[in-house]
């Protein structure tokens, strides 16, 4: 009986030895060098393959990192955490950038910015934009066909009931895929910490803007009186991130058409049609106005110890010439 076992063991060992000899030779002949950093990088990258880094997928980014072509901070969905992890693997210092989110700079859904033609054809924004300049009277407004929504890998873009794309800042990773998808280039990346934005891209004169949209920026410059961060180029206001300064919350209600968006509300007044909701909103506005007044008064009194309020500074950027020194 034991001889049977011995024979079996010998046979199997013999076969095993022959095979392992073959493999050993094979390893020598087909030796390939692999950089194990690539694998490590793949483990920490988010794996969404969103393309926000500018490389084809996470694997492409990892390869570029290993080759030294890419910087560790290029992964928007990963944020600071992944950047520092990459830096650790690659052994380099990481300069952290402020996280960004996308924002659709248009507030004009079809109830506010009417359509001028009945479009038939491929149901993507790029397609509609190419036919007769788009079916919306405003040639800079959101077409509402949701091309940005369909490219978003993070479900961060929702289409409102009135066919307007809105970015959910809580889900947005700032990968920028939607920027490419929008044929009208009305989606932009803004610092995540900021929550007041001008939701309009129409550079036309006030008369032309009013003709096509109720909530379009007319370039009236009222907002610039509220905060030095607002800049009006031509007939379109924007927030200049380079300029330091505070933006009072009430600024969005100074804007006559209501083109300034307050991300904390995730809404602008013209979108609210329900009367009771509108009244609530207006009440809130009154409250804010009071608060703002009180805050200003305090600032005037020279309460230097107010922690969360920066002292007004001279605007550094030359673009802020319109600054009326509203806070000083």
């Amino acid at each position: 009986m034991s001889s049977v076992i011995i024979i079996a063991v010998i046979v199997m060992s013999g076969v095993g030895v022959v095979m392992s000899a073959m493999l050993a030779v094979g390893r020598k002949v087909f030796a390939v060098e692999v950089d194990e950093r690539h694998e490590k990088l793949m483990e920490i990258l988010p794996g969404a393959n969103c393309g926000g880094c500018g490389y084809p997928g996470c694997s492409g980014y990892a390869a570029a990192l290993v080759e030294g072509k890419a910087v560790p901070s290029a992964c928007p969905p990963g944020g600071a955490e992944v950047s520092s992890a990459i830096g650790k693997i690659m052994g380099v210092e990481v300069s952290l950038q402020e996280p960004k989110v996308a924002i659709v700079a248009c507030a004009g859904d079809p109830t506010l910015a009417p359509e001028r033609a009945a479009y038939l054809g491929v149901s993507t924004c790029a397609a509609a934009h190419a036919v007769a300049g788009g079916f919306k009277a405003c040639t800079h407004g959101c077409l509402g066909l949701g091309s940005c929504q369909s490219v978003c890998k993070f479900d961060a873009i929702v289409m409102t009931a009135n066919k307007l794309a809105v970015v959910r800042a809580d889900k947005c990773t700032g990968c920028g895929a939607c920027l490419e998808a929008c044929p009208r280039a009305i989606i932009r990346l803004v610092p995540k910490s900021q929550d007041l934005h001008v939701l309009c891209c129409n550079p036309d004169k006030a008369k032309d803007v009013k003709a096509v949209c109720q909530v379009g920026c007319t370039g009236c410059k009222l907002c610039t009186k509220q905060s030095p961060r607002f800049v009006v180029d031509g007939f379109l206001a924007r927030v200049d991130w380079a300029v330091e300064g505070d933006i009072p919350r009430t600024v969005s209600f100074v804007c006559a058409p209501g083109a300034i968006f307050d991300a904390r509300q995730n809404k602008i007044l013209p979108w609210i049609t329900e009367p009771s909701e509108r009244r609530d909103f207006e009440k809130k506005v009154e409250l804010w106005k009071e608060e703002e007044k009180a805050r200003k008064a305090m600032a005037k009194a020279g309460a230097g110890g107010d922690g969360d309020q920066k002292p007004a500074r001279q605007p550094k950027a030359q673009s802020a010439v319109e600054n009326a020194g509203g806070q000083a």
């Binding site: 001028r116 033609a117 038939l120 054809g121 036919v131």
Partner: protein, 348 residues
């Protein structure tokens, strides 16, 4: 202007042909063969055809509903699939089996893939092959065609009985005898068993036992020609298919007439006509380009004959069509026409 104008990409006009029109035209072209089968096989044929078509349409409607799309019965593709499936079934097949076939055709082979235009395999053929494999006994139980009592084309109507003997039907006495098909006999007993019928006009007219719609080569040919004339199908696939079968039959028959049957026998029996004109030409599951269509037709012909002559099944049309369906992506990739500007280069 008070009303908004329509805007769309060019072109702004369209041809007259529409997808539903194409489908209904094919249904129309199958009507002669269908009516002939009603006449030949009587009530069992009517039950199978109407039952299968109704079940197919119902299943299509349910699938559309489940998929959440619009009710697409209007496009006629479900009715066409049902009719094609029914015509490949033996008369008298139990209705529940027809339903099972319809389910495989419309739901498994079509709806699972996304509905009209999305399937990879011909739905009717898939349904038939499923039934053939699942219920071999029922699917090879053939009814003898109705004896008319009178002869067509000057001689009595004939049929094979179970023993494989050719019986002359002199009156309308038999309605439900099981019998073997000519191809079944050929498969089992060789060409000698079908010698008597090899060149009989019955093959062409279709006064024979077999599946409902495949018996009458004449009426199927009529329908096929109608489709050719209406430019619904092109000649490539039917000609290549039938031609290949004829060539192989001619060669084998010449080599050994006792073993292999004649050209006429192979061309006019079995499902070749319905397969070549109606199944293999199905747009969705056949190649797009002329060269590919020829290859497809030849491939179908070769496989059909291989299965008929050397395979275990008496008839190979449905298998051949399905197998070639699977080759369509490869054929299409290989036969893309050369685009303009590559063929006749301006001589320098």
């Amino acid at each position: 202007m008070d009303k908004k104008l329509f805007v769309s990409s060019s072109p702004h006009v369209h041809g007259q042909v529409s997808t539903p029109a194409i489908m209904w035209t094919v249904v129309l072209s199958l009507l002669p063969a269908t009516l002939w089968s009603f006449y030949l096989f009587g009530l069992p044929a009517v039950t199978v055809v109407l039952g299968t078509v109704a079940l197919t349409a119902a299943l299509e409607a349910i699938s559309n509903k489940v998929a959440g799309g619009p009710l697409a019965l209007r496009d006629g593709s479900a009715v066409l699939t049902g009719l094609l499936l029914a015509l490949t079934l033996p008369p008298g097949l139990p209705l529940w089996m027809c339903g099972a076939g319809a389910f495989v055709s419309v739901v498994v082979a079509k709806a699972f893939f996304g509905g009209l235009g999305q399937n990879l395999f011909n739905p009717a053929m898939t349904g038939r092959v499923f039934l053939l494999i699942a219920f071999p006994a029922a699917m090879t139980k053939w009814l003898v065609p109705r004896g008319t009592g009178e002869s067509l084309l000057g001689h009595p109507v004939t049929a094979y009985d179970t023993a494989g003997k050719l019986v002359e039907l002199t009156s309308a006495k038999v309605d439900a005898i099981t019998a073997a098909t000519p191809l079944g006999l050929l498969c089992e007993k060789g060409a000698g068993a079908v010698a008597a019928i090899q060149n009989s006009p019955d093959l062409f007219i279709g006064q024979l036992n077999g599946s409902l719609g495949e018996t009458s080569a004449a009426f199927l040919l009529l329908g096929g020609l109608f489709l050719l004339v209406r430019r619904i199908i092109t000649w490539h696939i039917p000609v290549a298919y039938i031609g290949t079968v004829a060539v192989i039959a001619a060669i084998t028959h010449a080599v050994d007439p006792a073993q292999y049957a004649s050209v006429a026998f192979h061309v006019f029996t079995g499902g070749l006509m319905i397969g070549a004109f109606f199944m293999a030409t199905d747009y969705v599951t056949s190649p797009m380009y002329p060269m590919g269509k020829l290859i497809f037709g030849v491939g179908c012909g070769v496989l059909t004959m291989v299965i008929r002559l050397w395979g275990g099944y008496p008839e190979g049309v449905s298998f051949a069509v399905l197998l070639l369906n699977a080759c369509v992506p490869i054929i299409d990739n290989a036969t893309r026409p050369k685009k303009f500007g590559l063929t006749k280069l301006a001589a320098a």
